[in-house]
Amino acid sequence: MVIIYNHFFYSFLLNKVTLIAILRLSPRGFELCPSRLQCQTLTTELTRHGLSKLFFTQMKYSVNCLLKKEMLTLSWQKWKIAGIAPDSKHVTEQSEALEHERKTVRESLILAYDKNIATRLKAEVSSMEVINFNNITKDACTSKCS
């Protein structure tokens, strides 16, 4: 059941429990209001009523307040059936999309590492070869047993 506050904001009744999910209309669909406080309130409410983050992640809808605004976009139709478990085909599609996104993130991080760190690090390793640490001694050492 959906209660329309006004043209831009909505509040939801889900399983007879009021969830404070405030959505904003955007060109890409509906976005969760990115206020940290509101996200936290929502997360607390969801957890209190036994609705895990996983469930919403499967719906490609995350309640994690760390997510970027664009990530919070969700389809109105999907949200309307959010109180009902999604069908398995839908879940498969969502998990494939999620897996693809993870792969993309990983690949971009690996590329960034190669570009920004690897070269500098190799140069550092080469320069370290001339440094000898033999003259460094450690404490708590008895000469007989080391």
Binding site: E101, V105, I110, Y113, I117, K122, F133, K138
Partner: protein
């Protein structure tokens, strides 16, 4: 210690799987390098490789003080495994004396070895439980944190120049974990090189590390000072506006979760 382009592959069902893919790094005496990453990312494999204990197809170059791995280096390396393998019926002192008798050179007398054990007990803050039994599933003994310290103590007896620790804080509460890491930090500041894997450090623990290598399915995605990791990820487009434990954020990224 330097390691360059470490690659480790295994064969699974006739298929070759890359466990470590081009890991490079440097750790100097007095520094702690932490290896972070989700389960199965290759942390323990990398630690085992650095300890010269990995059998199989490992390529790349690892040098210790510009020397390749040797028997002499192995003797100066302490390796604390993830599981504490201790005799449950021995006390803390008995455990360490037993280890000292086995591992310290024959040139030392028994009394000298006992003196060495006393020093380690004191250094690791085990004085309060020195006469308590280790314990096991059927026998109540010392706490998990104390067991970890006994395991570290067993390696400390040989006064290692390089100390490798696999998950030294796993299963411990944050206060005990902090205490263990303080001990490790003290050992490092005494001129030792410390490399440790860690699963989910609290922010207090995270900032105690000098360097961090972040692994994602065997590939490095960050290497550098622990204090600048967030800055780096922010510079490559993965930033967050809220204050969180940096280790959590790094693990999210290593798992491929966008921020």
């Amino acid at each position: 210690m330097q390691f360059e382009d470490l690659v480790y592959k295994v064969k699974v069902n006739q298929k070759e799987k890359t466990i470590l893919n081009g890991i490079t790094g440097v750790v100097c005496p007095g520094e702690i390098l932490a290896m972070l990453g989700p389960s199965g990312s290759g942390k323990t494999t990398l630690l085992t490789a650095l300890g010269g204990r990995l059998n199989g197809k490992l390529t790349g170059k690892t040098t210790y003080n510009n020397q390749p791995f040797s028997g002499s280096m192995k003797r100066r390396t302490g390796f604390v495994a993830q599981d504490d393998v201790l005799y449950p019926h021995l006390t803390v002192t008995e455990t360490l004396v037993f280890t000292a008798l086995l591992r310290l050179p024959k040139t030392l007398t028994r009394d000298e070895k006992v003196v060495h054990v006393e020093r380690v007990i004191s250094e690791l803050g085990l004085n309060n439980c020195r006469n308590s039994m280790i314990g096991g599933p059927l026998l109540r003994g010392i706490s998990g944190g104390e067991k970890r310290r006994v395991s570290i103590g067993q390696e400390m007896l040989i006064n290692p120049s390089l100390l490798l620790l696999d998950e030294p804080t796993s299963g411990l509460d944050s206060t005990t974990a902090l205490r263990i890491l303080n001990t490790i930090k003290k050992l490092a500041s005494g001129g030792r090189t410390v490399v440790t894997t860690i699963h989910q450090p609290s922010s207090r623990l995270y900032y105690m590390f000098d360097k961090v290598v972040l692994l994602s399915e065997g590939c490095p995605i960050y290497y550098g000072p622990a204090s600048t990791a967030l800055e780096y990820f922010s510079s490559v487009g993965f930033s967050t506006s809220v204050t969180v434990n940096p280790a959590d954020l790094l693990l999210d990224l290593a798992n491929g979760n966008n921020l």
